[in-house]
């Protein structure tokens, strides 16, 4: 808590930031947490509902075992202790989207406690502590102005399983808040338990923000910010709020503990309710559910199914594949991307070459073609083996990089072997000195001005001359060889 501000820490006029994030992550189980209804996102309003998730009289919750398994996965992946016995509790408040008048959550005895998330700050790993992870049910959704003079409620989301992940107030800058969320989302996505889609609300974040004089150990008055539906909004809202708090303190105002809403249009936070109007949730143990017993054998079983997580994988990529920290980070943020990368290596690609292909061409194609389903890339544009083949053709000098990039779109959605296309269509680069020397002589003859410049030591113009030779050879010339020949021809 009182550790000195990290190098990237936010400070303003002698104040530092204290930020703690609470994340609600919707779990990707097929069924809801306390009934058998589908937990799928969307659908016609009130179609994925039953008496239980509508809170009809007399109905009872029955815990979905898979939900607990997912929570244990999250707990283990973030180094939490998994409680052998935890308890559901009722959080009581009235709202139309809350059908029972209480939310089944966990309170005094959460399932997971005392973990941490690793993130990269300025290329260096840092840990942010997790206070707890607990299970709860999602609410329905109020649909305002759907009918004249009133609102409607869609209960499809009611009872969708949620993890509430409460972070320690150890985050010291808006950028770190963003990095924390990305790292946390990455872990959940690796575990295949949450698709991490902030816009659709499957990954939601509230921020507790306060400021204090640099070096102080006591906490300042905290403000909770809600309604931030993207990483960018979280960073901006936190930054805005930090500044507001410092300016208020400087103006001699007293901060009040309150909940504020982020308004992304006006780019400011606005007061929603103060502490005096805070709910008394009257938590008490949920009598309709037995205490949740998680025997050690179950924890061990789940642990055995955990995939390699992004942090360890990033370190392995740096170590085994000789990648930069940056490349390794980009490649390991998503499991499917990292898997794709490694499949290319297995198919014979050089790591650095494969990393370049994936981080530039392939992910660009994925974005352009919207093949990205949040959690999984449904359809890779080309197979990792095809990318490996392309990179090998370049490595072996059979084709040049330009030809390889031109070939890529032709492979889309096919299982064509790039080497076969190169053979069939004679795309192999021309490395025949005799043939190229003639082309070089022709270009020098055609462009005397540029040739003279190069001869005079203006190296920049060589690109132009190489381009001309490439053009003359239908792009197939070996560019290194052309350059060599150009220099040789002009030096003589």
């Amino acid at each position: 808590m009182s550790e000195p501000a990290a190098s990237g820490a936010w400070t303003l006029d002698g104040y530092e930031a204290v930020i703690g994030l609470e994340v609600h992550a919707e779990l990707l189980t097929r069924a809801k947490v306390f009934c058998g209804c589908s937990a799928a996102f969307g659908g016609e309003p009130n179609t994925n509902v039953c008496p239980v998730c509508l809170g009809m009289p007399g109905v009872l919750p029955v815990l979905n075992r898979r939900v607990v398994e997912f929570a244990i996965r999250a707990g283990l992946a973030s180094s939490c202790a998994i409680a052998p016995r935890s308890r559901f509790a009722r959080k009581n408040y009235f709202y139309p989207d809350l059908p029972k008048g209480y939310q089944i959550s966990m309170y005094e005895q959460p399932l997971c406690e005392h973990g941490w998330v690793e993130l990269l700050v300025d290329g260096r790993p840092r840990r942010v502590g997790l206070t707890r992870i607990h299970l709860e049910e999602d609410t329905g959704k109020n649909v305002h102005d759907a009918v004249a003079g009133g609102s409607l409620v869609d209960f499809n989301r009611s009872g969708v399983p949620l993890l509430e992940i409460v972070g320690e107030p150890e985050i010291r800058s808006p950028a770190e808040a963003g990095a924390y969320l990305r790292a946390l989302r990455s872990v959940l996505q690796y575990l295949e338990i949450c698709d991490g889609n902030m816009e659709e609300g499957s990954f939601r974040c509230d921020a507790n923000v306060s400021v204090r004089p640099l070096g102080a150990t006591a906490l300042g008055t905290k403000v909770e910010i809600k309604n931030m539906n993207s990483f960018r909004n979280v960073e901006r809202a936190v930054a805005w709020e930090l500044q507001r708090q410092v300016r208020a303190l400087q103006a001699g105002e007293r901060l009040v503990q309150e909940t504020r809403l982020w308004d992304p249009e006006r780019e400011e936070t606005r007061s929603m309710r103060s502490k005096e109007h805070a709910h008394d949730y009257r938590y008490f143990p949920e009598p309709d559910l037995l205490p949740l017993e998680v025997p050690q054998e179950w924890v061990d079983e789940v642990r055995a199914t955990l995939p390699e997580l992004p942090g360890p994988r990033r370190r392995r990529f740096e170590r085994d594949h000789g990648l930069s920290a940056y490349d390794a980070d980009v490649l390991t943020q998503r499991k499917d991307v990292a898997d794709y990368f490694e499949a290319g290596i297995a198919a014979g690609a050089q790591p650095k070459e494969m990393a370049n292909w994936v981080t530039t061409e392939i992910l660009r194609l994925v974005r352009e073609r919207k093949l990205d389903d949040a959690l999984v890339i449904r359809d890779w544009p080309v197979t990792p083996a095809q990318v490996a083949a392309l990179s090998q053709l370049v490595d072996a000098g059979t084709i040049n990089r330009g030809t390889a990039k031109q070939l890529l779109p032709r492979l889309l959605g096919t299982d064509d072997d790039p080497a076969a296309i190169v053979r069939r269509e004679g795309l192999a680069q021309v490395s025949d000195r005799g043939a190229l020397e003639q082309a070089v002589r022709d270009v020098i003859a055609r462009c005397p001005e540029q040739a003279a410049q190069l001869r005079a030591g203006k190296d920049k113009v060589i690109g132009f001359l190489v381009g001309q030779v490439m053009k003359a050879t239908g792009g197939k010339a070996n560019p290194q060889l052309v350059q060599e020949l150009l220099k040789a021809a002009l030096a003589s």
Binding site: M56, G58, V59, N92, P99, G101, Y102, V153, P287, L290
Partner: protein, 495 residues
């Protein structure tokens, strides 16, 4: 309503026990339709005097009876309750039939689903002829808190039937149905059984599913049978008990065949008399009748000994913290948004306030407020948490006593049925009606009430047999032994 069939035949049919009625249907001596018509005729005859029903479902009942008759005709076993007309307390959901919990707020509520006990009754062949009155949301001891009707004690129309399952007790006593289901949170099956002179059984918590039973206090509620004799209680309990995947608190323990060994007697059994239950201020006739029943069991070979349940005096306070806390949360869903009564307002808050103000009666509001208070920040530890700790002490008292004893014997209430209106203005006095039944719910134990006498005015007196956890069988055996040696269960208030 016109009901065919001669009165003589009807009279004979509605007098049958569940077992006899089911046996007659199985042997094709009578059809379920005849039984059902007889029950409907009896209801028609006694309802003006008793008022046990909030809804009668003639058409559904006759259709169900016809279906049973077809099964019998086809040679199928119609089930242990095959063709027998029964009633269901109106806080138990019945698909397609209005289920109100005797509250204005659910006056128009028709569930799309059966409670598990309802489905089990149907599966056992029972024919549900109507929904029975009770205190609103089962909160009360006299059925006077029903917002939708007045039920009178069949033995004396000026007196209450007990509560909260007053309709169940009164309907069975009046021979309007062969059996009924009630619910018991603090004595709500047992007090009406005692006041109406019938058999009432509160099973071990977890023995019977609560799915579809409109919750009052989730950690205390249990559904139980109200019948005319002990063997019928065994039959109905066996039909409704057992594991339910829809209720996590329902026990997976196998359900014994409760009728087997009913007649094994009490010889050698050790039965405890809790000193704290024979209190000063009890109506003398109640104590005399209970002690006579105890002597009879002793004569039959039981060993009687006095035991102590030292935390008994805290039971009422403990109960009214835990039950109201749970109720304050359980009743939050009645908010006018999705179903039930809605009184529009200018704002969301106003709609909530108006709907709940108009929909709930005074006692329900009182308990919601008590429970809300008990759970509030700053009071939780002193009230709710403390009550849970005392609950553990109460449970330990019983466990200790039941280590030595096979069962405990007590009165059910300090008095016989009181007059209508006598206690309505004094909730505390009303709460004290449950002083001998409430601890059993706190401890999660099973208890059986059998008729064991009458006071000078002929009002019934009950004997309570409290068993060990999941040992309904021993309790039933004791009740049966007592019943064989007495005629109190044969008395009928309305000819």
């Amino acid at each position: 309503m016109s009901v065919p069939g001669s009165p003589a035949v009807s009279s004979a049919l509605h007098e049958c026990s569940v077992r006899e009625a089911a046996a007659r249907v199985r042997r094709r001596q009578v059809s379920s339709v005849e039984l059902t018509r007889a029950a409907l005729a009896r209801i028609e005859a006694v309802e003006p005097r008793v008022g046990a029903f909030l809804a009668r479902c003639e058409a559904e009942a006759l259709a169900a009876a016809e279906a049973i008759d077809r099964r019998v005709a086809a040679g199928d076993d119609p089930g242990p309750l095959g063709g027998v007309p029964v009633g269901v307390k109106d806080n138990i959901c019945t698909a397609g039939v209005r289920t109100t919990a005797a509250s204005r707020i659910l006056e128009s509520f028709v569930p799309a689903y059966d409670a598990t006990v309802t489905a089990k009754l149907r599966h056992a062949g029972a024919v549900i002829v109507g929904k029975l009155n009770c205190d609103e949301f089962a909160m009360g001891s006299s059925t006077e808190n029903s917002a939708l009707g007045r039920t009178r004690n069949p033995w004396d129309p000026e007196r209450v039937p007990g509560g909260s399952s007053g309709g169940s007790g009164a309907a069975v006593a009046a021979r309007a149905v062969h059996a009924a289901l009630g619910t018991d949170t603090g004595g709500s099956v047992r007090l009406p059984a005692a006041f109406c002179g019938v058999v009432g059984l509160k099973p071990t918590y977890g023995r019977v599913s609560r799915y579809g039973v409109i919750a009052y206090a989730s950690s205390l509620d249990q559904v139980g049978p109200v019948t005319r004799d002990v063997a019928d209680a065994a039959v109905v309990l066996e039909a409704i008990a057992g594991h339910d995947p829809a209720d996590s608190t329902a026990s997976p323990r196998p359900v014994p065949a409760y009728q087997d060994g009913l007649d094994a007697g009490v010889r050698g059994m050790r039965l405890g008399l809790p000193r704290e239950y024979f209190v000063e201020g009890m109506q003398p006739e109640v104590e005399q009748a209970v002690r006579a029943a105890v002597r009879e069991l002793e004569r039959l070979g039981a060993v009687i000994e006095e035991v102590s349940l030292p935390h008994t005096e805290y039971a009422i306070a403990t109960y009214y913290l835990i039950a109201t806390a749970e109720a304050s949360s359980n009743l939050a869903r009645y908010d006018g948004v999705r179903y039930g009564l809605r009184v529009p307002g200018q704002s969301l808050g106003e709609m909530y306030e108006r709907s709940r103000a108009a929909g709930f009666g005074a006692e329900v509001k009182r308990r919601i407020m008590l429970g809300t208070y008990a759970l509030s920040a700053g009071y939780y530890d002193a009230y709710y948490l403390k009550a849970q700790q005392v609950r553990t002490l109460v449970r330990r008292d019983f466990e200790r006593a039941l280590e030595r004893c096979d069962a405990l014997l007590t009165p059910v209430a300090p008095t016989t049925a009181f007059r209508i209106g006598e206690k309505v203005d004094d909730p505390l006095t009303m709460y004290l009606s449950d002083i001998m039944t409430i601890s059993v719910n706190l401890a999660g134990l099973p208890a059986l009430v059998v008729p064991c006498g009458a006071d000078g005015a002929g009002l019934p007196i009950g004997l309570q047999v409290i068993g060990r956890h999941f040992d309904e069988a021993t309790m039933l055996r004791i009740g049966y032994a007592h019943e064989l040696a007495s005629d109190w269960h044969r008395r009928s208030p309305i000819p």
